[in-house]
Symmetry: C2
Subunit: 127 residues, 2 copies
DNA sequence: CTCCTCACTTACCAAGAGGTAAGTACCGCA
DNA sequence: TGCGGTACTTACCTCTTGGTAAGTGAGGAG
């Protein structure tokens, strides 16, 4: 509670950015919102396999606090809430792009990202 | 236990990359290793303010498993272990660059990323 | 002789992230 | 009448993350 401004004294930008995307579903929410533009709560929930309502709201709220998404509530009779990326959210998504490509590469290589043993006097794996 | 190959079935590349950099000090280790090239254990420890030995080894080991850093053990009398980035680690660092810049922007703006609320009356949502 | 350094490992503990399930209030459909 | 969908909130619980502190074993400094 009351930890609204989540900001430890960051050491570098990576730190600050990682803080904002850390969370099991944050990255996926960003991704989906980027791909679909505007999404309703239930749409997001269905789009993310396995997310619980609690976590989705929690993440969405934090991302709203962080200025990544905007939340529009329509005072309609079946409640309707729409989420979309803000400018900062879009920018973050773009900043995340190369990281995503790196991740894809990693997946392609089947986690075996080769480690050309330089000239180690002692085999590190034996310890 | 035995969760050495940390790889959930990733949904997208962001997922996979975030998995690898998630950890309180991973980003900083990457950063420092990139800046200084080769570092000894104690050097890294001194470079990261507040890191415990346990966490540093733990992160370093995981990053080694993930092929981000290489570890060279010299069978010397005062033990000497050197860490450096692998190609994958360097690539990750480059992929992290835009994210770092985004984070710097966020820091500069003093967490106030957009949210254009000109002169609205104080409400619960404005907190 | 004792402490410090190196690079760790291990045990224990607290905080938090995240999961499950239920409740809420109202509506449309069968 | 009862169910499902809407967008949540709340309580409870577990598992993970990370912190503290101590131990290890050999060498060098005081």
């Amino acid at each position: 509670m009351a930890k609204a401004p989540r900001n430890g004294p960051y050491i570098c930008g990576i730190d600050a950015a990682l803080d904002v995307v850390s969370g099991k579903w944050k990255g996926l929410v960003l991704w989906d919102l980027h791909a679909h533009g505007i999404r309703r709560f239930a749409e997001l929930r269905r789009a993310l396999p396995g997310v619980s309502e609690k976590m989705l709201t929690q993440h969405l709220r934090q991302m709203e606090e962080d200025g990544l998404v905007h939340r529009t509530v329509y005072a309609e009779v079946p409640p309707r809430v729409e989420y979309g990326l803000t400018e900062a959210g879009e920018a973050l998504n773009e900043a995340l792009q190369p990281l995503g490509e790196w991740g894809l590469e990693r997946i392609r290589r089947g986690r075996l990202t080769v480690v050309p043993e330089p000239d180690a006097p002692l085999s590190a794996s034996s310890l």
